[in-house]
Point group: C3
Chain length 334, copies 3
């Protein structure tokens, strides 16, 4: 959507160095941007591309303004300013109200008139769909769910049962919320399934990625608080509680009944064991996992970056001979 | 479903301490239970909540009965007794026979009259659906599949082809069974696909989680035996064989042609390499993987719990200097 | 499909030892093959089964021909020859052109007459579907996608938007391509979503597994080059570039903006951090991850195979006392 730099500067509270009537209609990278594009400079790694940029305008820090050959929008945090301006320049298509003729909606469901239900959508009994909600093609919303206003289920999302979502959420394809948790009791005759009777409560402004799974509670709810971000292929087990604004990168797994604090960040393929409590502001490095309560904010890690396989084989051998090395030092000490 | 404590005690063989005419109609936690709820005490971690509980009845060990302020159902294994009683109190909704008008069923498919096919279901050629089977919305069952009596596919499950399932199975959304395995032959012109012509055989009383993948065999079948439990986001590669009552927690991966014994347990993000054989009663710890045959029952592990990142950086440096440390000890020994 | 050994030998350039008029109509393992089956001997681990085989013909190396009790097709690379011959004996069913009555196709979509769209398929605006393309049941192809000739989407595949696929691709159920990448800017009010405006470009002859996720670019495209093979449950983040003929085994994750060279191979549960560059011909071992640029071809690893848990506990304790051991050696040196 074409917007003038003057309007962007006013709406998002930036200083504009350049012509307020210049119009941008898309976003691009510093390198590829043409005069119709808005771009940004946030990381110093890209600073050398600034003098050559052909963008319509660059969002940047005051200290970079001098090197900018085109219009500049000055911000103390160019990346978040870019995020907001890009959403204005490339807005999400407005929801077209209506229920597609192939959608199957239970008689007791309550669908706002302003909501959109796409092809092949299924909505279960007693489920409530709020104002301006967009339920994309192939989504299945089971019984007793609540979808808050302005939330968007892109496509092929499954909310199994008893899933309550706040407002302005974004849910990507293949996401499954509210399936039974992994509850089994061992008996002499094998596993007996433990009924999973809880639900899932998800706050406002939450975004959850493709093919992620969030199980319903065994008893009581699994809870995802406001502002949480979960990437693709993550697992949130039954009765987990994830605090506000916590972010989980792809392939993270949080085991059953773990409680994660606010503003935590998990890098890829990380996670926690079950039944632990993690305080606010904890960062977990890639491929690392927490095995016990964490009571102090900070960064935690336990992963080994790959090295050439021959070196690794020798290193593993040395590691396995640690007991021997220890004995030899003991002997020397005597 | 309301049931009297007397009936529960009789049906499940428990001693009842309390009024047999008291009725419970739901389940809850010790802490949150009201007089209409059944609850249980299994782990001593929750014993301190017992004296305050307001539950209708508590399933517990004889040794805990004295501290129970309400009716008690005495069991030597309260958790499995709870699993069975909860299934009686909160039964799965009975299957409503019938084929939804939007379902697409191949002419040669054989669907039992007592089965239920939900909206937008697709059933392929020569596929047989047994008595009281429930195929939830959006499920796709390809050609040449067999679904045993009383099995339930919750929603959006895909059985690609040649998938044979036993009785009383439960299959969660996003599960994909019978897709081609990862079979590729390298040639000077790049990879050539190896046709995957086998199927998948799954036994009775198996439950498989959301977004898990189980590939068909390359030649011959991938096999999951009776009573197996597989959690969300697991990968079972082609020609794997998983023995009875084995359980895999979320994000476990079993590589091609591995054979896993009976009653094994894999914690989260664990797995095995391909082409190995693992005996019965093996437990694999979280984030650990087996790299060779295991012939002795027991617990196996290889993971590093996360520690503060600064300590980890130092620890990694020390680990990398093991060769140097070894040399220094050798020098001292001389 | 029945084919004579003579035709196979001629078509695929093998020497035939045996009757050219013998006909095979299926494939099987050395052990299970009957006279109607073609099989192969590639790994010496199976050589002892050769003298007993009852197959119609065995594809094998010249050096194994003597021990073969039945017809032999001689190849210097029996596995890739098997792959090609098996595709001839067990061909993929030809595409039956036509659009199922339950499919929902946007007015501006362009579908080749020879393409097949199955039940409950959805095709978005301006999307082009090429000749002989097969779109299986439940697939959702969003706006502005291009599907090249002879590609096959098996079932329940989701291409969200701006996904362009080359020719002869194979895409398995649950795959999600083109969902928004994990782009978030932290602000004092929590995360702000960074619009993801790029697309995904996938080359020719690419096969991608079940429940894998490939995000669209943040700005610019995520790119998968010709001949790439990606297994189940893998994550390819925004703006990743994967070079020709690279293969990723199940549960591998490539973080944002990483560039992977040609002919690389990742074993299961491996991956890379973001923003790194990996040269051609790099192999990454199971459960290992690359944390920085790799400029030299070869095998890399960093994983610890599981050992008995008691040994591991001791080993972990020794590992944690490395600083102490180091101090003791220092003291001895003084």
């Amino acid at each position: 959507m074409p917007i003038s730099l003057g309007e962007l500067a006013t709406r998002f509270g930036c200083e504009l160095i350049g012509d307020p009537d210049t119009v941008v209609s898309g976003v691009s990278s510093l390198q590829d941007a043409g005069p119709e594009s808005l771009t940004f400079l946030s990381s110093s790694a890209y600073a050398k591309q600034l003098p050559q940029t052909k963008a319509g305008a660059v969002i940047l820090r005051a200290s970079d303004a001098e090197s900018c050959p085109v219009a500049a929008l000055v911000s103390s945090d160019p990346y978040s300013t870019y995020a907001r301006m890009a959403a204005a320049v490339c807005p999400v298509a407005p929801v077209e109200p209506g229920i597609h003729s192939s959608a199957v909606v239970a008689a007791s469901a309550d669908i706002a008139e302003s909501a959109s239900l796409g092809p092949h959508v299924v909505v279960g009994e007693r489920t409530r769909i709020g104002e301006r909600v967009s339920i994309g093609p192939g989504c299945i919303i089971g019984n007793d769910c609540v979808i808050g206003d302005d939330s968007r289920l892109i496509a092929n999302v499954t909310f199994v049962k008893r899933v309550r979502i706040g407002v302005r959420g974004v849910f990507h394809p293949g996401l499954v919320v509210g399936a039974d948790g992994f509850g089994n009791a061992m008996t002499p005759d094998g596993w007996v399934k433990v009924p999973q009777v809880g639900g899932v409560r998800i706050g406002d402004d939450v975004e959850i990625g493709a093919n992620t799974t969030i199980d319903c509670g065994a008893i009581g709810d699994t809870v995802i608080d406001n502002g949480v971000r979960i990437d693709n292929l993550c697992q949130i087990a039954h009765n987990v509680h994830i605090g506000e604004h916590t972010a989980l990168a792809a392939m993270s797994g949080i085991a059953g009944s773990a409680t994660i604090g606010k503003r935590c960040m998990f890098a890829g393929q990380g996670g926690t064991v079950g039944h632990i409590s993690v305080c606010d502001d904890v960062i977990v490095a890639a491929k690392s996992f927490l095995s016990k309560d964490v009571t102090e904010a900070g960064t935690y890690g336990s992963s080994f970056p790959a090295v050439p396989a021959k070196s690794w084989a020798k290193q593993l051998a040395r590691f396995r001979r640690l007991a021997n090395l220890n004995e030899r030092v003991k002997k020397l000490e005597k």
